[in-house]
Symmetry: C2
Subunit: 246 residues, 2 copies
């Protein structure tokens, strides 16, 4: 061991690689490093922070395990974009049980600007009776409706989303990120089950009282700010979630 003192504020008992880790984490969370950005190279960071290359490497490796960064040999290290393929949604194996994922086409029967219901305002940490963009969508596999999505967006954060001129693709986040330039950073999902009420049963063409899987999602933009709350209801008979215990 040689070299001088690191040029980042350390903490007693806290390993140096974790200090570097936290430094990078802050850069990401604050938005100084945005999703998709190329971060400085190992050697640049090592010089800048005055720590060894190995320490920087370890810090970055840990953040790669956390899926906050990803690396390409020869190119560099990038800040991860959120990947909605990791949503619990993927366990809706609509269609053939043969394995290959089936494309779900979505329609948007309802889109309007409205006053947010109290529970929704609360979840979005928005003032009471805030304006919301309410969007209702139905997902189809072929001609068969398989799921219903209801989402509330904090209107102040997504100006123009309510306009009919803005086309909504199957993955709604594409509009928000690419067109409205609002970064989506992470989301929390909660999975439960319930039975179909009359309206849902009719839309999904199932019996009243049929089992449904319910997915609640709270989506966040930068600085830990909630931006969307969503409830997805799907037929339980085509949902199965698999894990392994070790």
């Amino acid at each position: 061991m040689e070299t001088g003192t690191p040029s980042i504020p350390s903490a007693p008992g806290k390993p140096l690689y974790r200090v570097v880790e936290d430094y990078l984490r802050r850069e990401i969370d604050s938005g100084k490093l945005a999703p998709g950005d190329l971060i400085p190279s190992e050697s640049e960071l090592a010089t800048e922070l005055n720590v060894s290359g190995g320490t920087v490497k370890k810090a970055i490796e840990n953040l790669v395990w956390e899926r906050r960064l990803y690396r390409h040999q020869g190119k560099g290290t990038y800040v991860s974009r959120i990947d909605f393929n990791n949503s619990l949604f993927r366990f809706f194996s609509y269609g053939t049980h043969s394995g290959n994922p089936v494309r779900i086409h979505k329609e948007t029967p309802v889109r309007k600007l409205c006053e947010g219901p109290p529970e929704i305002c609360q979840k979005l940490q928005a003032p009471h009776q805030s304006q919301m963009v309410y969007i209702e969508r139905v997902g189809y596999r072929g001609e068969t409706p398989v799921l219903i999505e209801k989402c509330w967006w904090a209107a102040a954060l997504v100006p123009g989303l309510e306009s009919e001129e803005v086309h909504i693709p199957d993955l709604m986040y594409a509009v928000v990120v690419d067109q409205l330039k609002v970064p989506i950073v992470r989301a929390e999902e909660i999975l439960t089950a319930e039975i179909a009420d009359q309206t849902t049963a009719t839309t999904l063409k199932v019996d009243l009282g049929a089992p449904l899987v319910v997915l609640n999602r709270l989506t966040y933009t930068q600085k830990n700010r909630p931006i969307e709350f969503r409830i997805t209801r799907g037929r339980a008979d085509s949902f199965s979630y698999r894990t392994e215990i070790r």
Copy 2:
């Protein structure tokens, strides 16, 4: 870089640390290293396999990430025991929604030796009409029944489990591992939802047609041998599974 050639069969293009990793993985899977065992130290492995300490460390770190090993500074590296606290079962938050997990007491109304149903024999990769120990259990929170468990054990692998003299504690695996000395290595779980039939509704004291969460589990002993199949049905209103997407 110095030193001689590694004394484990390598492969072209395959990094050395992965060779070491696979070596350890084989030792574990084959049962030569059993759950709870202390594995050789870094330096021992390095000498034995004729690779550097850093390479061994990296291999072990990867296996720690996979939860196949765990380390204690000053003590050594151990083979992980299966942890049923990782079961999806933990998302049954029976009782207070206040956070602290509630103890579920279990009773065993049915325990018998019987011929395995065809689907179960198939799942357990056992011959048609094999003998099974069938156990049915009901879980209570206080006086309230909250779940029903049905399990089939391959009788040949758990001799004596059917005997009424063997007391079954809340976590059944304790008997199998500690008393019968049969190692439990891993398990696969599949989560789905359905509605209560008459029998289940009566036992769980819910309405006919009430939503249920269903957890299917296939448990394995050493050498990838299935040993138990289990179906747990619980009230959906007290199940919620939370994840984060990044």
